[in-house]
């Protein structure tokens, strides 16, 4: 039962990322602008394709070792490219002109890319669990996870900060309720990913305690539901509101109406 719930959480994460990523990429095909291209590609590659490839052996344990190795390496590569695209999105959308943001982006990108490349080289073909090998692989794993943690935390902070600003503008009629809510749900989504990175790191630190590893292992699928739900509400708001028939019902950070 727990396994079924876990796999459902991961599957929800993958499906929501693929659908929302594809939807935003269709917008990017029309506008040809950087923000939608980067965030759409990030969702599609990291949350969708990359995660799907990495969890495929969990869904179908009969894959040969060579296939598992290929899926892990390709999934890890797509995921790392997706993470990098999200960092570009945060940097260019929220802090395009600030030197500290450029430095933070470069630091996150360097940690992510060096760590990701190191993981790729450290994992040997033919192993039973490339993901486990990568996580116990030492410095490369920690570099990659540090880059992910910093980048996604930055994304969450910027989203919540902007949500707070727009709530003030909303009181003056200078913001759209749907957009205000979108910043909030995007903040929830990126915060849930931060929790996933913390759980992944905790699993690595708590290797000697099977019980704690199992608990940490449950966090990721649970957060999968949170990511899927928040992505859906953030980027498919219109149909939801139309069905309610009242735009005033758009939730805000307080969970109610302002």
């Amino acid at each position: 039962m727990i396994e079924l719930v876990s796999l459902s959480g991961l599957a929800a994460f993958v499906v929501a990322s693929l659908v929302v990523g594809a939807r935003i990429l269709m917008l990017a095909a029309r506008t040809r602008l950087l923000p939608e291209t980067t965030v759409g590609s990030s969702l599609f590659l990291a949350g969708g394709v990359g995660t799907a490839m990495m969890i495929a052996p969990l869904l179908y344990p009969r894959f040969e070792a060579g296939t598992v190795y290929f899926l892990y390496q390709a999934g890890s590569m797509f995921s790392h490219i997706g993470f990098l695209l999200l960092f570009i999105f945060v940097w260019r959308v929220f802090r395009p002109d600030e030197a500290w943001a450029t430095a933070l982006f470069l630091a996150c990108a360097a940690a992510l890319l060096i760590g990701g490349a190191g993981i790729g080289m450290a994992v040997e073909p033919g192993g039973a669990s490339p993901a486990r090998e990568a996580e116990v692989g030492g410095v490369w794993f920690w570099l990659s996870i540090a880059g992910r943690f910093a980048g996604y935390t930055w994304a969450a902070i910027e989203s919540f900060r902007y949500h707070a600003l727009l709530k003030r503008r909303l009181k003056l009629g200078l913001a759209d309720e749907g957009v205000v809510a979108r910043f909030f749900y995007w903040g929830i989504c990126t915060s849930a990913v931060v929790v996933i990175w913390i759980a992944t790191a905790a699993q690595n630190l708590l290797l000697e305690s099977e019980g704690l590893v199992a608990i940490a292992g449950l966090v990721t699928p649970m957060m999968g539901f949170v990511v899927a739900g928040s992505l859906w509400v953030a980027f498919f708001p219109k149909r939801r509101h139309d069905s309610v028939g009242d735009s005033d019902s758009v939730p805000t950070a307080t969970g109610g109406q302002d």
């Binding site: 939608e36 503008r169 913001a175 995007w186």
Partner: protein, 100 residues
Amino acid sequence: MSDLSVFDLVAEKIEEHTPLNRLESRGTLRIALKDAGFDAKSVSASQLAVVIQKLLPQHFEERGISDAENVCRTIAGCLSDTTSAESSDSPEAIFSRLGS
């Protein structure tokens, strides 16, 4: 005048129409903008006009300026000929597109 930002322009008008000095004018306007969720660099003329009419009178009254509403109406009037489009690169414009 064309080199002035809308913030600079309005700060000058506040100085002109109230007893506040340059520093006080700019500071009062900055506080009003902050209350509204804007900053001096990115606020547009139309957004600033709303802030002047809806928030600035209260700040003027707190500083003992009489007839605050009329003063604000006069100051907002100076923006009627000013155009500064809201940026399509702003985070809210981008997030608005993402849900369209």
